[in-house]
């Protein structure tokens, strides 16, 4: 591929780099410096409550991860090995759950479990498991698919019972995928915010929730900042261990993929049917409950919540303080702007990365950093950084969309860079022989390839923005709440029509998100995108 002239690459790289530096690096540094300033570290780390929260965050993440692995192995197995009626649907359902906004997932479980159980730690863990099943199924599945079934046959002829085949042959061979999946699920559950806030009882707090509680509810920024750094340190430690484990376990298998087959013997058919139906039930129940509860009002089953959506009266004249319909307008506006920002910055960055070859690595890694940083950290950092003239941007309409764009840009970049890099170098050569300068060659040959991945990226960015809760919890102001925030508020009003309205809004958000992602998944780009986002820039 012909290289673009240096100044063009520089020009392309500057906006993304500046954006990243100002809105990501600077807030992170602010967090760090505020944390180590003074005795905040000692005071906060000296409190027992801090370690109780940290410990809870850790053990619930470990339990959630283990359970997700265990629960996810069965559907991963049947999806990888067999062709059966409903396979695509099951895969779609599992993926649909994964892309749901966190508050919607929380709402679904709040709706599913009976009152009294639905605010327990068990409910939080259950929600985590179902939420993250897709990671196991779509990470372990493809690797499992590659294991020749004859290998299991060979083990059987050597006297291995089905259980021993699984533990001694299958498990070790899918272990790299298991390790990869578990580290992803751990990161998600360790930094869980929306699910815990919606489902968890008042005392159930992960580090992220505690950061929010200290900063937003109690106004104790110093403690919040130290907790934020503590969370990042703990997370980094785990990620380092897991990538070391991943390197150790990944070995070239040199296997040839085996075809999926229909289940044959009666026992196999029963097995597939049992796992299939159970998976459908487990995955479908929360969504069904979510929609169903929106029709359950204090005065019985009715569509009142839907028809009165937006009317948040508690008593004559006294309203909730959040206007749900206003929230919809805010969310849509935010999503439009966030998508625009993400696509423009993502496109520029992708072009620079693809054109710069080796030196593009810095920008590549840089643009992926927000994926490894929780949205809460991003939002909180922005909140405490941009609060003084001449950069007092707290009330600016573009702050929230930028926060959303930060979370979405990595996806745009990953979708686009891959496509750009795969452009046939012959096309460049052809353009050059026809007299085109490198820049002109790029413009004519490469840029047209941008539209498809950018459309994918834009759709993802919109879905991410609509459902974003973590950063928005810090950045949004009282008159510009978004739909996820409105949902969380409405759901807290147990036993009133307002809660049913919350379920209604959550259902709508679920449908919109799933529709957006489904539109994109068709193009198959999503699968490669997911894998490359998971593996990082290679």
């Amino acid at each position: 591929m012909s290289a673009l002239p240096r100044r063009v690459i520089a020009a392309l790289s500057i906006p993304p780099s500046v954006g990243l530096a100002v809105f990501y690096v600077w807030p992170l540094l602010t967090l760090l410096f505020r944390a180590i300033d003074g005795d905040a570290v000692q005071t906060t780390l000296g409190r027992r409550a801090t370690w109780e929260v940290a410990w809870f965050t850790l053990w619930q993440a470990v339990v959630s991860t283990l359970m997700t692995l265990v629960v996810g192995l069965a559907p991963a197995y049947i999806v990888a090995r067999f062709n059966f009626r409903g396979r695509q649907l099951l895969l779609g359902l599992i993926t649909a759950l994964f892309v749901l906004p966190t508050v919607v997932m929380g709402a679904a479980f709040l709706a599913l479990l009976p009152d009294g159980m639905n605010q327990s730690i068990a409910a939080v863990i259950a929600a985590h498991v179902v939420f993250n099943l897709a990671v196991v199924v779509r990470t372990v599945g493809p690797l499992w698919e590659q294991l020749p079934s004859d290998m299991e046959g060979a083990a059987a002829t050597l006297g291995a019972s089905p259980w021993r085949v699984f533990t001694m042959i299958t498990l070790p061979l899918i272990r790299p995928a298991l390790v990869a999946a578990s580290s992803i699920v751990f990161i998600f559950t360790f930094t869980s915010f929306g699910v815990v806030r919606v489902i968890g009882a008042a005392g159930t707090r992960t580090l992220e929730v505690e950061v929010w509680r200290q900063a937003i509810q109690l106004g104790d920024i110093r403690t919040a900042v130290v907790l934020s750094i503590l969370q990042m340190v703990m997370l980094a430690a785990v990620v380092m261990c897991s990538s070391r484990a991943q390197r150790r376990y990944s070995q070239p298998l040199g296997l040839e993929p085996s075809a999926r087959r229909m289940p044959q013997r009666g026992s196999e058919r029963r097995q597939v049917a049992l796992i299939g139906f159970t998976s459908f039930a487990v995955c479908g129940a929360p969504l069904f409950a979510l929609a169903a509860r929106s029709f359950s009002t204090p005065s019985g089953w009715s569509i009142a919540a839907w028809t009165q959506l937006g009317r948040t009266e508690v008593r004559p004249g006294i309203r909730l303080g959040i206007d749900p319909l206003d929230a919809v307008r805010n969310s849509v506006e935010n999503a439009l702007w966030a998508t625009l920002f993400a696509v423009v910055i993502g496109a520029l960055a992708s072009l620079a990365i693809a054109a710069a070859r080796n030196t593009g690595r810095f920008l590549d890694v840089g643009m992926m950093l927000p994926v490894g940083t929780s949205a809460v950290t991003i939002g909180f950092g922005m909140l405490i950084t941009f609060d003084q003239a001449p950069y007092d941007w707290r009330a600016e309409w573009w702050l929230v969309p930028i926060g959303h764009a930060l979370v979405a840009v990595p996806f745009v970049v990953r979708a686009t860079v891959g496509v750009l890099r795969s452009v046939d170098p012959q096309l460049h050569a052809a353009a050059a022989t026809l007299g085109a300068s490198p820049t002109r060659a790029w413009r004519t040959v490469v840029v047209p390839f941008l539209w498809r991945p950018l459309t994918v990226g834009a759709t993802l960015a919109a879905a991410i923005s609509l459902g974003e809760f973590g950063a928005t919890s810090f950045l949004s102001r009282s008159d510009s709440e978004t739909v996820p925030i409105a949902i969380e508020q409405l759901l807290g009003r147990t036993g009133s029509l307002l809660q049913a309205q919350g379920y209604a809004m959550a259902t709508v958000l679920a449908v919109v998100t799933i529709a957006l992602v489904a539109a994109v998944d068709r193009s198959h780009q999503l699968r490669t995108l997911a894998r490359s986002t998971v593996n990082g820039p290679n």
Partner: protein, 354 residues
Amino acid sequence: MTRRKPASAAVALMLVVGACSSDDASTSEPAAITLVTYDSFPDAETSMNEALQAFSSETGIAVEILVAGDTGTMLSKAALTVGNPEGDVMWGIDNTFLSRALNEGIFEPAAMPVGAELPPEFTQLSPDGLAVPVDFGDVCINYDLAWFADADIKPPTSLSDLIDPVYSDLLAVQNPATSSPGLAFLLATIDEFGDDGWQDYWTALRSNGVQVFNGWTESYYGSFTGAGGSGRPLVVSYGSSPTAEVIFAEPARKEALTAVIESTCFRQVEFAGILAGTEHPNEAAQLLEFLVGETFQAELALNLFVYPTNSAVELPQEFIDFAVVPESSRSVGPERIDANRSNWIDTWTSLVLG
């Protein structure tokens, strides 16, 4: 390679949307200012709102009401947005939260002194006049008379009674971190049981099944059986809440449906102030003055069910008939609150929620 160019259409759409969304109210007179308040403040349909509309027509200053959540959340948001506030005047910081508000510097002084004519017992709580006292009342345990009569249980008469197993799973309180009656009630227990005893008391309350809500509206309208809720017959509310129940009862009633445990009452004074960094200090000062003026203060009793600080206002008869003013209610000094509030809230959180 001819493809449709959706980008230009999308960009055009976004620019249009963006133009509509940027609220730039710096145009002509009259200015519009925002009154930031808590979630039990009516934003339409009551006589209080009509009084505000009258103010608007007279002065040409439009007043928009922004409900920011419960008191604690409202204060936290104000603290996070100091210098770039979400509104111009804030109503509803009470004496339990006041020191935090003043320490965070969320208020700025009015150009001319406001509220000088108010009784000193209230104004002395905010010495440099940054916050102006607008109303007062008591935070007390309310109970549902009918419920206790039906259950044939004698209602509790003191704080100590509440940990009696007879009353298990009957009490609803609010989170002191976020709710001003919640904090007031916590302070009442600290006042009663002292620095050494209040923690045991709350541990006992927890074992006795106390339910914690984030805000007053949720607990009162959502749970209190005496107000149409379906949860609990005992709730932390106001000394004047029984009055509200009588006045709003349908069909009309002549007797109280709910009552108050007087020995649990804690004196609460609410303040209003101009938010620091407001773009409309003059208009804000005018509104502030209106809020403590007779016209507005006269509407407080029957709408917010609090007592006006403006002593020139006459209370409506129904109010006098049904409201309970305890002989003495508890209080804790502002310096003590200031020094200990966050520790108390922290300890309470781990005792009751942790």
